[in-house]
């Protein structure tokens, strides 16, 4: 049975209207509703289903961030993860935390905990990086199965169906492996009340990047954060010829 590490990120809730801070340094996060990245919910759900099929033995949920990140770890525990690890990164360090740092952190924890599978969401809905799974696999020198829409686990390998631009691709990877969860992989369950109560007793260990030997000094500087340009109104044209002329003018044809 595989030991599974799942990365979960606390992000602004998908339903919230994002507002840019007046000083253009970022988006407003104070007092704004946050929740688990939806693709990470799918990742946890897949891990829990593996455990229910007796293909996984233990699920460890990891989150990197400030104290509030523990909320998403607790949600993961309520969905069925066995224990949590909170990697404390706060303040300025958190503002410039990038997949390059997170992937090293996840890789170190994966080695420490001797896991066989790392499952993360394909991207976070705040930065849309789509890098963490790939970088983590590279650091560990493990195979990677990204954009997974179906995962079947054999004894020492997995068969994954990936959603790619051209359609669906099916690959086989030997364990240990890194997987990134795509939208149609599964539908995450609700945490039940009994599981929420049980989750209170599950342990959440606290570590720092320093403990893991990972340097989280910034590799980027945020220059400015702005709203996207306001959408221009459309123009109603008299006929198809006028449309073709306009398209040629604009260099689109």
């Amino acid at each position: 049975m595989a030991r599974v590490l799942v990365g979960v990120k606390r992000v602004i809730d998908y339903a919230v209207k994002i507002r840019v801070k007046p000083d253009k340094s970022g988006v407003v996060t104070d007092g704004v509703k946050h929740s688990m990245n939806p693709f990470d919910e799918i990742a946890i759900e897949e891990a829990v289903r593996l455990k229910e099929k007796k293909l996984a033995s233990e699920i460890i949920a990891v989150s990197c961030g400030p104290t509030q990140s523990q909320e998403v770890i607790r949600t993961a525990l309520a969905m069925g993860a066995d224990k949590g690890i909170h990697v404390e990164v706060s303040g300025k360090d958190y503002e410039t935390l990038q997949p390059i740092h997170v992937s090293k952190i996840l890789a170190k924890i994966a080695q420490n905990e001797k896991v066989d599978m790392v499952i993360v969401g394909k991207q976070a809905i705040d930065d849309d990086s789509n890098q963490t799974a790939q970088m983590t696999a590279a650091v560990l020198d493990w195979p990677q199965a990204t954009f997974a829409s179906k995962v079947e686990k054999g004894d020492k390998e997995i068969t994954v169906t990936r959603e790619v631009d051209g359609g669906l691709e099916t690959i086989k990877c030997k364990l240990p492996v890194v997987i990134s969860a795509d939208l149609r992989l599964n539908e995450p369950r609700y945490a039940t009340l009994p599981n929420i109560m049980k989750a209170k007793k599950k342990p959440i260990a606290k570590v720092t990047p320093k403990d893991l030997g990972v340097d989280v000094s910034p590799r980027i500087t945020v220059v400015s954060v702005e709203d996207p340009p306001v959408r221009e109104p459309g123009v109603i044209l008299p006929d198809v010829d006028a449309l073709v002329a306009k398209l040629k003018e604009g260099g689109h044809v």
């Binding site: 909320e71 949600t75 309520a78 609700y190 945490a191 039940t192 009340l193 009994p194 929420i196 209170k200």
Partner: protein, 422 residues
């Protein structure tokens, strides 16, 4: 009366706090243990979040169908049962959550936001269970509560009759002892879950002597649905909460084993009344859920609908209607929270529970009527969500103790408090 209230307030705040008029650090007496607190803890927030998600994603979309057809929401009750919403108070030795009234009410308010009829279908098993939870023996609890944990079954509370509701003393259903059994005969009416329950709590008169005081004349029984002689009537077509299964039940020479008597012969009245202190807060919180839904729908609509060149929310007449709704929602919520908190902390809460229930019912009804008003002509129409809220809200003035009964409880409490100080 003012003096009596002063006395109550004085003892509640632990003595008058003298305040030094300093501009620096506020002396927060609430920071000491047992002070007032208006914040939910993390677990409560998680529980509320799950209920909220379930209400918005599962209940609200299905509600119009069940309201139109009256179909019992069996699928949703099963899902709610899987999530742990149906049986919050069952003791741990039966496999239950043993949740408090407050946490169950947090769930109840959210579910009622989705649809109070479906929420009633999910939550009313609790009412039938309460006598067994409060007074059942370990064997009775294991048998009748355990099976509700093992399978998505529900219970029902059978006290009201065609001829008597508020006047519990007027219950005519009778039970006669015959050897090791009791023979039950009579009729109950307006019983929620009557058609779908696995067992009922039934209150019957066991002392036929009309001079026998109510406190000794009735007995509480657990009656299995499939006992011969138990006949639920047709599903009643009500004004609102149409998803909920409400029927009459007839009992004809129903044989009940003596093991199914709760507490003992003659203890029925006390059991029936005692359950209410725990079950009135959940009804108050459901009414609050309706009011919140009214506020949300009306606000949303008022920002979309334009008249005289602006969204109607910008007209003060409409804005003030929204303000009144919000004031009602906030205060109704505080009222049920206090009543529920008292129940969980072993404080006699009849006074608070009656205040909460009667107030929340008024708030729900007024908010629903106002929501229809904000929607205007559309509000009267079945394609818009608010006319259903108005039909659903009315029952809160009536069941679980009519508003008039609640006011009796409150006024008696106030008068007794004054008399005891004289």
């Amino acid at each position: 009366m003012a003096y009596a209230l002063q006395k109550i307030l004085k003892s509640a705040s632990g003595g008058i706090v003298t305040r030094a008029f300093s501009v620096s650090a506020v002396q927060k007496s609430s920071e000491h243990p047992n002070g007032f607190n208006f914040e939910l803890n993390d677990t409560q927030k998680e529980i509320q979040a799950v209920a909220r998600k379930f209400a918005r994603e599962e209940i609200a979309p299905a509600a119009p169908h069940h309201d139109r057809t009256g179909e019992y929401p069996a699928e949703l009750v099963k899902k709610a049962w899987e999530l742990g919403f149906v049986n919050p108070h069952i003791p741990e030795h039966c496999g239950g959550l043993n949740q408090g009234v407050f946490d169950a009410c947090l769930v109840g308010e959210e579910l009622a936001w989705g649809c109070s009829g479906i929420a009633t279908a999910i939550g009313s098993s609790c009412l039938g269970q309460m006598p067994v939870i409060l007074t059942g023996t370990k064997e009775q609890q294991k048998k009748y509560l355990g099976r509700l944990i093992d399978e998505p079954l529900v219970a029902a509370y059978g006290v009201t009759e065609p001829g008597t509701g508020s006047d519990v003393n007027g219950v005519k259903t009778r039970a006669e002892k015959k050897g090791d059994e009791w023979i039950l005969n009579g009729q109950k009416m307006w019983i929620t879950n009557a058609g779908v329950a696995n067992w009922y709590f039934v209150l019957a008169r066991t002392n036929p002597d009309p001079k026998c005081p109510a406190a000794k004349a009735f007995t509480g029984f657990i009656v299995d649905r499939d006992t011969p002689g138990v006949t639920p009537g047709r599903k009643e077509l009500n004004m609102g909460q149409r998803a909920s299964d409400t029927r009459g039940v007839t009992f004809e020479d129903v044989r009940i084993p003596k093991e199914n008597v709760l507490l003992g012969e003659g203890a029925g009245f006390k059991i029936a009344m005692g359950a209410f202190d725990k079950t009135r807060p959940p009804v108050a919180c459901a009414a609050t859920g309706i009011a919140q839904r009214c506020l949300d729908e009306a606000t949303k609509y008022s920002l979309e609908r334009k008249t005289f060149g602006v969204p109607i929310a910008h007209h003060q007449a409409i804005a003030f209607i929204l303000a009144d709704m919000a004031i009602g929602v906030e205060t109704a919520r505080l009222a049920w929270m206090k009543a529920a908190w008292e129940a969980d902390n072993g404080i006699r809460n009849s006074y608070s529970a009656s205040i909460a229930k009667s107030y929340a019912a008024d708030v729900a009804n007024k908010s629903a009527s106002d929501a229809v008003q904000v929607f205007g002509g559309a509000g009267f129409n079945s394609e818009y969500p608010v006319e259903k809220l108005m039909r659903d809200a009315k029952i809160y003035h009536i069941y679980e103790g009519t508003t008039q009964i609640q006011k009796l409880v409150v006024s008696r409490s106030v008068i007794d408090a004054t008399k005891s100080v004289a």
